[in-house]
């Protein structure tokens, strides 16, 4: 739990600093609000991979994981726990 919250802060920072996206809250629906479009999502994945040393294949991409900052943080924690994919 603590892992996810800490990561959440980092993801908020990543959105603000790396993607230039101002997100109102950790629960804001990124897809409905249009904050996350195709290009932003491509870049988000690249940034997540770089910042958190995880590997995210486009094949098993589930959009629901990117619905909000909370869900992104949860997703990254799970990914990191699983380990780096080859």
């Amino acid at each position: 739990m603590t892992d996810t919250l800490a990561l959440q802060q980092q993801v908020v920072a990543l959105f603000a600093e790396k993607l230039n996206l101002d997100v109102a809250s950790a629960e804001t629906d990124l897809i409905e609000t249009g904050l996350l479009d195709s290009l932003a999502l491509v870049e988000l994945l690249a940034q997540l991979e770089e910042s958190f040393d995880v590997s995210i294949s486009t094949d098993d991409l589930e959009l629901e994981n990117f619905r909000s900052i909370t869900s992104i943080a949860t997703f990254v924690v799970q990914r990191a726990a699983v380990g780096i994919e080859v």
Binding site: L36, S38, A40, V42, L63
Partner: protein, 586 residues
């Protein structure tokens, strides 16, 4: 293997017209998949290549390149059934889920970007073509292959820089051992190419079409005036990255589609939007100058970083931004590289060639040799030319010469006498430049020549200079380069020697620069013969070489188009191979 490469995204512009019906006409060019083309590579050799616009006569057309495909097949004497692979220079398949984020994007993916969309076009236009023969090549990989596999170098830095491919604006590769190893890529949101295009649009010109006009306008302006705006706008990071935050201002689907907030930012912080019919002022010239200087800096930063990181002193480039000859010339003179090669069809037409070469390389068939002057398009027989001449018999009188030499003697005489001649022979060029087969030629030393050609032929913006073609033997005499410096593709800016600038007014830009084409017996024999003859009469083995077309028209393809275009302008003489057509209404 027989591999047919293609580029372009048919349906891209119609989709935008349907879903965003109320836009300004110029805004529809803010879309992907223009400049479609076809290229045929057989057993690793380039047999034919041509842009579709030359066949359907719509400049920058992104339509499925059936005209170009049919030409390529005819040139090789093969049918579509004998083609082993169709290779498309776009591959959006990794991005399907990304496009499902909103319904319009999802529809766009289905109708324009998907493999199914490609196959539907193949079924429509290439009867009997089977799906398993269709392959897709990542856009930047196609551009990279077009440069690396025609560089003649086993090892070099390969930089692809364009508006954007599927999702990126820059990709850096290390080309070695016949492979392209991807080193780095930058996301489309930090695209210097898109920024340049948006400023082009904002200044009243056409997005993804007129950037070279802004490049031509730049030397008239003061680059210092808006330097701080561009320094802030384009951040050059220590790790070779580029950041352009204003490209991320757009939040809604509509804003992103047309970069609305970015353009509003330009209006508020740079310069008011210029409508096409408005006058071009000093402010616009200064913006162009500052923008160009920003691009020059950015290219140097990006290419320099990776050159040093990888210890490479050879650079091969492709992608639409590599058509910016000014930045290319600055990069060459920076000393970062010993040599720079830019694939002459650096724009999306070249992605067709790259897609085919990439697949050929995968099959182990490519022989990496420096690209010849790209005369890859159709030539027409004397029978076809005579047939066209007959149709205009009441408007022209004909003189036939027995040899190339005799033709060149007459052409040189006319050029030296201050006449403008259209010069049509051999296979049509692939890529945007006319290099001596579909050209309009004149004496570069004639003081009024630039205005004459602008008025007579092209109705171009007055500020745009023309470009010189010169023999390899004489290039160092007139231009600030080492003897026998080879620049055969007209894609690099050099400086005219100071002592000659005043005597070469038609091709010397206001800052003393010129976009030179060197011509040798080895790479462009017939044109070289002409230049030698011109030299005997004028004392300079040089001509002004501009493309054979009028404003807004693609370069002429067939003899009939040559005659029609010729007669629709004020040009007096048209050479079709060794036949001279003179207009009767002189």
């Amino acid at each position: 293997m027989k591999i047919l490469g293609i580029s372009g995204l048919d349906g891209s512009v119609p989709f935008k017209q349907k879903h965003w019906p109320g836009l300004d006409e110029r805004e529809y060019r803010i879309s992907q998949g223009h400049d479609s083309a076809a290229a045929l590579v057989i057993d690793g050799e380039v047999i034919a290549a041509a842009a579709e616009e030359r066949f359907n006569r719509r400049k920058h057309s992104g339509a499925f390149p059936i005209g170009a495909i049919n030409y390529c097949l005819a040139e090789a004497g093969v049918t579509i059934d004998e083609i082993d692979e169709l290779a498309h220079g776009f591959d959006y398949s990794p991005y399907q889920k990304f496009y499902s984020l909103d319904p319009i994007s999802a529809q766009f993916y289905r109708e324009v970007l998907s493999k199914e969309a490609l196959l539907a076009l193949a079924r429509r236009d290439l009867h009997g073509f089977s799906a398993e023969r269709a392959h897709r090549v990542n856009h930047h990989l196609a551009h990279a292959a077009s440069a690396y596999f025609t560089s003649g170098w086993d090892e070099c830095l390969v930089v692809v820089i364009d508006g954007m491919g599927e999702a990126h604006c820059v990709t850096v590769f290390h080309g070695h051992d016949g492979k392209l190893e991807r080193i780095h890529q930058l996301p489309a949101q930090d695209s210097i190419g898109i920024l340049y295009s948006l400023v082009t649009l904002h200044l009243g010109f056409d997005f993804n079409a007129d950037e070279y006009k802004i490049m031509g306008l730049a030397p008239y302006g003061d680059a210092e005036r808006f330097r701080s705006f561009f320094n802030e706008t384009v951040e050059l990071r220590a790790d070779g990255k580029i950041r352009i935050p204003i490209l991320r201002l757009n939040q809604t689907r509509d804003e992103r589609e047309n970069h609305l907030r970015t353009r509003r930012h330009l209006a508020e912080h740079l310069v008011k939007e210029r409508r096409p019919e408005e006058e071009v002022t000093d402010t616009h010239r200064d913006v162009a100058a500052s923008l160009q200087a920003c691009l020059d800096r950015t290219m140097e930063h990006l290419c320099g970083h990776f050159a040093h990181k990888l210890g490479l002193r050879r650079l091969a480039m492709a992608g639409g931004v590599a058509l910016n000859c000014t930045a290319n010339g600055k990069l060459l003179r920076s000393g970062i590289f010993d040599d720079i090669y830019i694939q002459p069809a650096a724009g999306d037409d070249g992605a067709a060639l790259g897609a085919a070469l990439y697949r050929a390389a995968q099959a182990g068939e490519v022989v990496n040799r420096r690209s010849p002057v790209p005369f890859y398009g159709p030539a027409y027989s004397m029978a076809e030319i005579d047939n066209a001449l007959e149709q205009f018999a009441d408007r022209v009188e004909i003189m036939r010469f027995g040899s190339l030499e005799d033709t060149c003697v007459e052409a040189a005489r006319l050029i030296a006498a201050g006449r403008v001649i259209a010069w049509y022979r051999g296979r049509m060029e692939f890529g945007p430049r006319a290099l001596g087969h579909r050209s309009i030629l004149a004496d570069p030393g004639h003081p009024k020549m630039r205005d004459r050609i602008n008025a007579m032929v092209k109705m171009r913006e007055a500020f745009r200079p023309f470009a010189p073609a010169v023999t390899l033997e004489e290039v160092h005499r007139w231009f600030e380069v080492e003897p026998r410096t080879e620049l055969p593709y007209m894609i690099m800016i050099v400086n005219v020697r100071e002592e000659h600038r005043a005597s070469l007014p038609a091709i010397t830009h206001v800052d003393g620069s010129a976009r030179v084409q060197t011509v040798s017996t080895a790479d462009n024999a017939e044109f070289h013969t002409l230049l030698r003859e011109v030299g005997k009469v004028t004392g300079r083995e040089m001509v002004l070489n501009t493309s054979f077309n009028v404003k807004g028209q693609p370069i002429v393809n067939t003899p009939r188009e040559a005659l029609e275009t010729f007669l629709g302008t004020g040009i007096e003489y048209l050479f079709l191979e060794n036949t001279l057509a003179r207009r009767l209404d002189r």
